[in-house]
Symmetry: C2
C-alpha cells in the first residue's frame, strides 16, 4: 500500500507540502474520526468512507458572495469552498463548470409545471459531462500529493475526462477499460494520447485489477481519481449545488432531481446546499431531493419503495450504462437524504428514458445522454404522480451529452421523409403545410 | 419569390415591425447600394451579396465596454453590435458563445511559439460548433420578419444547430440533407423533433431544391438561415472577433488562423476586428489573418499562392467535410483580407489534419473535429515555414467538436495494450515505468 502509508501531515510522495485551500482534514462519514489530508479513502479505524472537512471562510455572506461573483466563469469561482489552493485558476486545467441553468419554459408547459422548471445543463463542460468537475478537483489533489500519473477505471465518460484533464495539466495518464467497449468510446478515451489499457474481463475485473495496482509498488506515484483520490474527486459535485443556487439568484430550489450511479453526486449536492445555508449565502428553507434510476438498475429506488435502510445489489441491465452500478457505494446515504428532505427515489424503463431524451430535445433543443433521459423521465413520472409539486421551483440535472449515447435513440430517430429533389415530391410527402 | 417581395421598411409577412437593434439597412458588398432590412440576400441592382450596415453605438468606448462586461456570458453581451433587438437575452434561444479562449502553453512549447498561443474553443457551444452563433442571429431575424419555419440545407453540423435552436425558440423546423449521410449525423439532425428531409441526390441537389422552395408559395413563412437570412446569419461570426479581443484584455491578437469553408467566417471576423478599432474598444494596430483549407478542397489557397484574384472551383475530396465547399462564395474577399493584412492562405493534407487533431488532444486536452485539425495543421505549417511569427500573439480558431468526426481518427486511435487483469501482464506490456 505504498501511497497510503505516507505521512501526509508533513509531506507527500514528492516531498511538497499539502495546500488544498480550506480543506482541513479527512473525516470518516461513519465514525467521524479525523485523519490528515492524504491519498486515502477509507477510515483507518472503521473502514468507513472518508470525506473532506473544511475550515469554511469567515467574514460573512456579503463578502463571500462578492468574492465568488468576481471570480472566473468556472468551478474555480467557488475555490474558497473546495479542496483546492487559492491560486487554482492560474494552474493548467480544463476550467469546467458554470454551465448554463436553462429556464425550460417549453418543457414546463408540456409537463404542467407552473413554479419554474430549470435544466442544469452539464453537457456544456469541456468533455461534455459532469465528470470534468470531479476530475478537475482530483487533479489538484494529485498535484498536491506529488503524483505524476493520473488513472481510473472507466466504462467511457470518465476515461475521456481523465485523459483530457491529464493532457492539459501535464500529467501522464493511464486509464483502464473493459476490452470490449464500443469503438466510439475507445476513440474518445484514447485520443488524448495517454496510455489506454483494455482489460480482458468485465468492469468488475477492471476495478479489481486497479485495486491490486494501487497496492503494488508499480502504482507508486499514481493517483486513481475514483479510488485513492476519491474523497477529493467526489467534492467536485458540490459545485452543481453552488451554481444552481447562484444562478437562481442565491436561492435554494424547492425540488431537485438528480441521477444515481454510485449516489455520490446526490449526496454531494446535498452537502453543497447545506454549506450554502450554513454560510448564510442562501435562506435556510426546506428543499426536497429526488433520486433517479433506470428500472434495469434500481437498487436504491427498490430500497426506498420497500422502506429499507439497506440497498440490495442488482445485476444491471439498462441502456443507461453510465448509471449501471448495481451496488452503489453511497446508496444508504441517498436513502437518508431523500427521506430527510421529503423527497423520493424512483425509476423508469428504458423506453421511458428514450422518450424523455426526445422530449428534452424537442422542447428545449438539449440533446442529453441516457443518464439525463433517466433523470427527466423520473421527474415527469413524479410530477404526474403528484409527488413533485408543479407549483414549486424544480431543477433537473442533466449530467451528459447525447452525442455519447447515440445508439440509444438511433433505432427510432431518422428522416421524416426521403424524396427526390422536386416540389411535387415535397408536396406529396405532406410536409408543405406550415 | 414570395418572401422577398415584402416591403420590409414598414412590415413583414406577419405584420410586425422590424426591430433588429443597431442594424440600420442592408448594404451591397459590391456596389454599396443600401436596401431596407428584409429577408433578401442579393442586391437588386447588381446581384452582389448583401451585408448588414449598422448605426453603431455612441457614448465612447468606456461606456460600451462597461455595458458589454456587465452583460450575459453569451454572444448577447455584444447585442449593441449585432442585428438583434436590445432585449434579445430575454427571448428563448440557445445563448451560444463566450466560449473559452484557452492559453495553450503546452502546444506553444511544442510548436516553439513564445509570444502567446491561444485556442478559441467553440466546441463549448450548445451543439458543439460555431454554427450556434450564426443560427442564433438568424433566429432573431426570423422572429423579426414573422417567419414560422426555420430551414436550411446541410451536411450535418448546421442541421443539428438549426433543429436545436428552433426547438428552444418555438419555431417549426424543416431541414434538408443528402439522403446518404452517416447515421450519426442523421440522428443528431433528427432528434430535436423537427422535420428532416433526405433528398435523393448530392449536397448540390439539396441546395438547388432549397432555392426552388424559397421561390415557391410553399416556402412562404420559411426562413432559410443560410439563404434568405444569410446577411444576418453571417454576422454571428463577428462575435468570435469580439470575444477573442475581450478575452485578451481588450487587445487585438497579432495573428489569427481561421478555417475557410465559404469564407464567410473569416471575412466577418475581420469585420468584427475593424468595428472594435473604429469604436475605440481596442488599440488600432496591425494584425494578420491566415486562412486554412484542406489540400483536397483548397481553391482559395491555390488562388492565393498563384497570386490570382479569382477563385477557380474545385471538386472536394477531403476528410474535412465541413470545409468541403469547392466554390466558396466569399473566396475573393478572403484573398483581399489575407493580402491586405499581410497574412496568407495555406492548405494541409488529410494526414496532417489527423496529426493536428491528435496534437491538440495530446497537448491541451481539446478534441477537435477535422475543421479544427485543418486550422491547427495550417498554423503549424506556417510557423515551421517562418510565415507566422512565433514571437507574436497568435490565436487559432477551433470551430467544432471531435465527437462529430470520430471516423477521422478512429482507424489510428486505440488502446495502447490489451491484457489479462494481472500485474504480470501489465509489467509484460511495458507500461509500468512512469
Amino acid at each position: 500500500m505504498a501511497v497510503q502509508t505516507v505521512d501526509n501531515t508533513t509531506n507527500t510522495p514528492a516531498g511538497t507540502s499539502v495546500n488544498l485551500g480550506p480543506a482541513a482534514a479527512l473525516s470518516c462519514r461513519e465514525c467521524g474520526e479525523k485523519s490528515p489530508l492524504g491519498p486515502v479513502f477509507a477510515c483507518a479505524s472503521c473502514f468507513g468512507p472518508l470525506e473532506v472537512a473544511y475550515d469554511l471562510p469567515e467574514g460573512g455572506p456579503e463578502e463571500l458572495r462578492r468574492r465568488i461573483e468576481s471570480g472566473p466563469n468556472s468551478i474555480w469561482r467557488y475555490a474558497p469552498l473546495l479542496p483546492v489552493p487559492a491560486d487554482v485558476a492560474g494552474k493548467p486545467n480544463l476550467n469546467p463548470g458554470f454551465t448554463e441553468l436553462v429556464k425550460a419554459d417549453n418543457l414546463a408547459r408540456e409537463l404542467g409545471v407552473t413554479g419554474g422548471l430549470y435544466v442544469k445543463d452539464d453537457s456544456g463542460n469541456p468533455t461534455h459531462s459532469f465528470k470534468d468537475r470531479v476530475v478537475a478537483i482530483a487533479v489538484e489533489a494529485a498535484r498536491a500529493f506529488g503524483f505524476t500519473t493520473l488513472s481510473c477505471s472507466s466504462t467511457g465518460n470518465l476515461a475521456g475526462a481523465v485523459g483530457a484533464a491529464a493532457a492539459r495539466a501535464g500529467f501522464r495518464s493511464c486509464v483502464f477499460i473493459p476490452h470490449d467497449l464500443e469503438q466510439g468510446k475507445v476513440v474518445m478515451a484514447a485520443v488524448y494520447g495517454g496510455d489506454l489499457v483494455g482489460i480482458e474481463g468485465t468492469y468488475d475485473d477492471v476495478n479489481r485489477f486497479c485495486s491490486e495496482l494501487i497496492g503494488d509498488p508499480i502504482g507508486e506515484g499514481w493517483g486513481f481519481v475514483n479510488v485513492n483520490l476519491r474523497p477529493y474527486y467526489a467534492e467536485g459535485s458540490k459545485t452543481l449545488a453552488y451554481e444552481i443556487c447562484e444562478q437562481l439568484g442565491w436561492r435554494l430550489p424547492d425540488q431537485i432531481v438528480i441521477p444515481i450511479a454510485s449516489g455520490s453526486q446526490l449526496t454531494k449536492i446535498d452537502k453543497g446546499l447545506q454549506e450554502l445555508i450554513k454560510l448564510g449565502l442562501v435562506e435556510d428553507k426546506p428543499y426536497k431531493i429526488f433520486g433517479a434510476q433506470a428500472e434495469g438498475c434500481s437498487p436504491v429506488a427498490a430500497a426506498f419503495k420497500a422502506g429499507h435502510d439497506v440497498v440490495r445489489p442488482q445485476k444491471p441491465d439498462t441502456i443507461a450504462k453510465s448509471l449501471a452500478i448495481g451496488n452503489p457505494a453511497d446508496g444508504p446515504y441517498v436513502l437518508d437524504i431523500a427521506r430527510r428532505t421529503g423527497g423520493a427515489v424512483e425509476d423508469v424503463t428504458d423506453e421511458q428514458i428514450v422518450d424523455a431524451i426526445k422530449l428534452l430535445a424537442r422542447t428545449e433543443g438539449i440533446f442529453t445522454e441516457t443518464a439525463g433521459g433517466t433523470t427527466l423521465g423520473v421527474a415527469k413520472k413524479l410530477i404526474e404522480a403528484g409527488v413533485i409539486d408543479p407549483a414549486l421551483t424544480t431543477v433537473v440535472v442533466n449530467t451528459g451529452d447525447g452525442l455519447k449515447t447515440l445508439d440509444a435513440v438511433a433505432p427510432t430517430t431518422g428522416p421524416t421523409a426521403t424524396i427526390r429533389p422536386s416540389l411535387d415530391a415535397f408536396r406529396a410527402a405532406g410536409l408543405a403545410a406550415d
